[in-house]
Subunit: 506 residues, 2 copies
């Protein structure tokens, strides 16, 4: 019977098999294990120079921690504290940095969606914080909670968006003190992938940790990464109180922070890739070192957010070459320090999902992956210098992530001798479409990429990629299915949010 | 006096200097000397495996030369010729390939526009052969001679388009036997940059060489590269008569051919990067080896034109990951053989200068430059799977080339100690916009990239990158100035074309 079944499957099912291959069910991409790159721009001497420059900045110029608790902590730990200025010797700094884990698992509430961060592992995370959306009608308007929900839903359905995050857009219709409640609740219930935590305030950070404890259990959270928090340093050389309060909460909870100088290269740093990287490395390392005073061994991430600055208008520029080179340098320095690193990408100053938007998006992603970034933020949807998220572009970007995933996964093992047999059999002037190897190794396809003839494209409505992206976003939202969650977890989570909502509106 | 002048220049001229820096005069980019990459995907054993596979293909399966002269030449040279099938032993093949120069100068009639090809040197060349244009009104129509002229003019004005080429579009309003005359004449008179030669027929190749001799002189052409010809192999394993006739003309004239298998990966080659590259390397090496029988030491280029194939429709796919990986492999093999290599890029199946077009364009260029391609064809304008050239996209693409040129030129030398002084002086919370270093090191800017606020963009007409590109193309054509050419050269060239035009219309 098995024999008959198999035969019947082979005889009658070829069309079905081909269809199954060309319309495969969604395959959720897990952590990208990079096999292409990373590119090292510097020799060992060049690395040493940037390292020495970063150490000199922290020893001679110092860095401001505008937060009394942090200043007291540093003083107690033996750093040179004068006013808000902290000067840290390189031995102390490097000892603290040596405690940062080089790699960690990133748990999702659905274990099949869990990831790894560090070394050759890279993950794609959602956009973060835009106050505007470019809606399903293409019109720009303030972001609402419904938009945040929609982008969580799209993230859940996307094969490539590994981390839905916490703040896919900034919901203007929710009072600020309650925002983190709605967002963490939505991230945990609308998706079953790894999330981020809020850094709006110390309380928001505490609540974020508390809500993950409800879902994952207290002990699990204390021993595993279940969220990551994005903290920005005010470049040059200022860590502020709000960020440091959140840092202490997450470090104490053993949850990683992405400690990210926000760099306008040429404005907040020198207009030199090497000089800019020395500065931002100093800033990020100082934040990471402080986290290790709070809890030695807590996972932390060397972070950067690098854009250029137009020397004409002072506007941020995304997609220009110097920040790309800086990302390569940051990657090499992170490998030198043995810590995971995080960066921004897939963004643009364009106000339309057009050629500029796509060029900037692609041109910011290639250097980031070539630099071996481990935690890649803003991987889909940004327009308008990160002020807006477009539904259309989000969907198109997410499919580009699949493309990048395939490329950077590199070559598969191949039996060249068998292929030589095919070449001998087919000979000059033949084709390989019918070989077993071709049928078993379909090329990667982006199902929104249109390669039809002009005539067919025109007959089907001359749809641009913007139109196609919007239609696909609508189709995905129409077919979204909420991932299951045990009733007791859901109940406890709802109860927590209801209680806190009341508390914060008082 | 000199002292006073210098002071006056420094005192009163700051605004002018800043303006000169932010609105600099055109700087024509010369050869890109790559300092980023190339990426080697394979270890020495992997290279040896692909080399052995390519040699086995040529020894065991053989390759067809569908041309009686070539068959006689190979037989005389000692290869195993049976019918049209030629089998070439690896010793013979590698001896012939060893005579191919690794690098050469590429002379323009304006010496300031001359280039270098090979090793770390890369040049950007124009699109080639599209029968359709997407006009200044955005509407698609057959290409005309005026369009060819226009794209030569844009190439002349572009800072980044180093090689205007020979066939920027296929002019449908010129009878086929006369096309090469009009095109070579236009390339030589409307631009002063390096050109390509026609491969339409043996006569077209002969005329191309003759016309460059009029401009450069007979002896100069015999000793210098003044043009390159693009020859396609019919993959798998067929070189046809028309291509071989042109190859003999150009090899005899000491001018390089880009010997390029036209690859639909998965259809004309195995659906395996390694297997596909083994096959196309075999094809290109066989053509290059034949050229060395015609004239040992003639410069030749290992060429490829790689796209994927949709397993749904059979349509070519541009911008998918496997051809990108194949380009990395071809680059590594070209370095193994010590020969320059050529590939295609910046293309798309899109029928609109939209997000898809830009994604595909960028995603085909990055692997090509990471693979260290030396002669990069189709660097601007293609839509519709290379069937159409868009004015708007051409202009936007050409500015992207400047971006790529800057990125792949890598880091400049930097005095980190001086920058540390700036950081110390500026300290926490300051900015670097006013430092000498920032003013003297402006970031690269794409002048069509819009980074303004949404409100300003909207007030100025909400122009997409497509609209901006078209307007810029029109502006450039309105301000084009023909480069000077000595009267005697121009007269002789006009006379040659007039005589031949008459001859071929008879």
């Amino acid at each position: 019977m098995a024999e008959v079944k198999a035969r019947s499957g082979r005889g009658g099912g070829r069309a079905a098999r081909v269809k199954a291959r060309t319309n495969p069910p969604p395959v959720y991409l897990s952590t990208l294990n990079r096999k292409v790159g990373p590119i090292d721009l510097l020799g060992p001497e060049g690395v040493e120079k940037i390292h020495n420059a970063a150490m000199t900045i922290l020893e001679a110029t110092g860095i401001e921690f505008r937060d009394p608790v942090a200043l007291a902590d540093w003083k107690k730990y033996g750093a040179d504290v004068q006013g808000e200025r902290v000067r840290i010797g390189r031995e102390m700094l490097m000892d603290l940095i040596s405690a940062v884990p080089p790699e960690w698992g990133y748990a999702a509430r659905n274990p099949e969606r869990s990831l790894r961060v560090g070394n050759q592992h890279s993950v794609f995370a959602n956009a973060y914080g835009a106050p505007f959306v470019y809606g399903l009608d293409g019109v720009r308007r303030p972001s609402m909670l419904e938009d945040a929900h929609n982008f969580f839903k799209l993230s859940q359905m996307s094969q490539s968006m590994m981390v839905p995050g916490i703040l896919p857009v900034e919901p203007q219709d929710v009072p600020v003190p309650q925002r983190h409640l709605e967002l963490v609740h939505a991230a945990l219930t609308l998706t079953d992938k790894p999330i981020k935590g809020s850094v709006l305030s110390e309380q928001a950070a505490l609540d974020s940790v508390e809500m993950t404890r409800i879902v994952f259990g207290e002990e699990f959270v204390d021993n595993n990464v279940v969220m990551a928090a994005l903290l920005n340093c005010n470049t040059p050389l200022v860590w502020d109180e709000t960020m440091l309060q959140s840092l202490r909460v997450y470090a104490a909870a053993n949850q990683p922070c992405l400690l990210s100088p926000f760099v306008l290269a040429g404005a907040s740093t020198p207009a030199s890739p090497q000089g800019g990287v020395a500065l931002l490395i100093a800033e990020s390392l100082a934040g990471m070192a402080y986290s290790q005073i709070i809890r030695r061994g807590a996972p932390m991430v060397l972070g950067v957010a690098i854009m250029g600055v137009s020397m004409k208008t002072g506007a941020p520029m995304m997609g220009s070459p110097e920040p790309g080179l800086m990302n390569l340098l940051v990657g090499q320095m992170a490998r030198f320090y043995g810590v995971p690193w995080r960066t921004c990408t897939m963004w643009t100053g364009s106000k339309s999902p057009d050629m500029q938007a796509a060029f900037d998006t692609a041109n910011t992603m290639w250097p980031v992956l070539l630099g071996g970034a481990n935690y890649i933020v803003h991987s889909a949807g940004f327009l308008e210098g990160a002020l807006g998220v477009s539904y259309s572009k989000w969907v198109q970007d997410a499919l580009q992530l699949e493309n990048f995933h395939r490329f950077f996964s590199g070559l598969q093992e191949e039996n060249l001798d068998a292929l030589l047999g095919d070449i001998e059999n087919i000979g000059p002037g033949g084709h390989f479409l019918g070989t077993d190897h071709t049928r078993e190794n379909p090329m990667h396809m982006n199902h929104l990429q249109n390669n039809d003839s002009f005539e067919q494209w025109e007959a089907e409505g001359s749809k641009t990629a913007e139109v196609v992206g919007t239609e696909e976003a609508q189709r995905m939202l129409n077919t979204y299915v909420r991932p299951p969650m045990p009733d007791d977890q859901r109940g406890a989570l709802d109860e927590f949010v209801a209680k806190k909502r009341l508390e914060y509106s008082a």
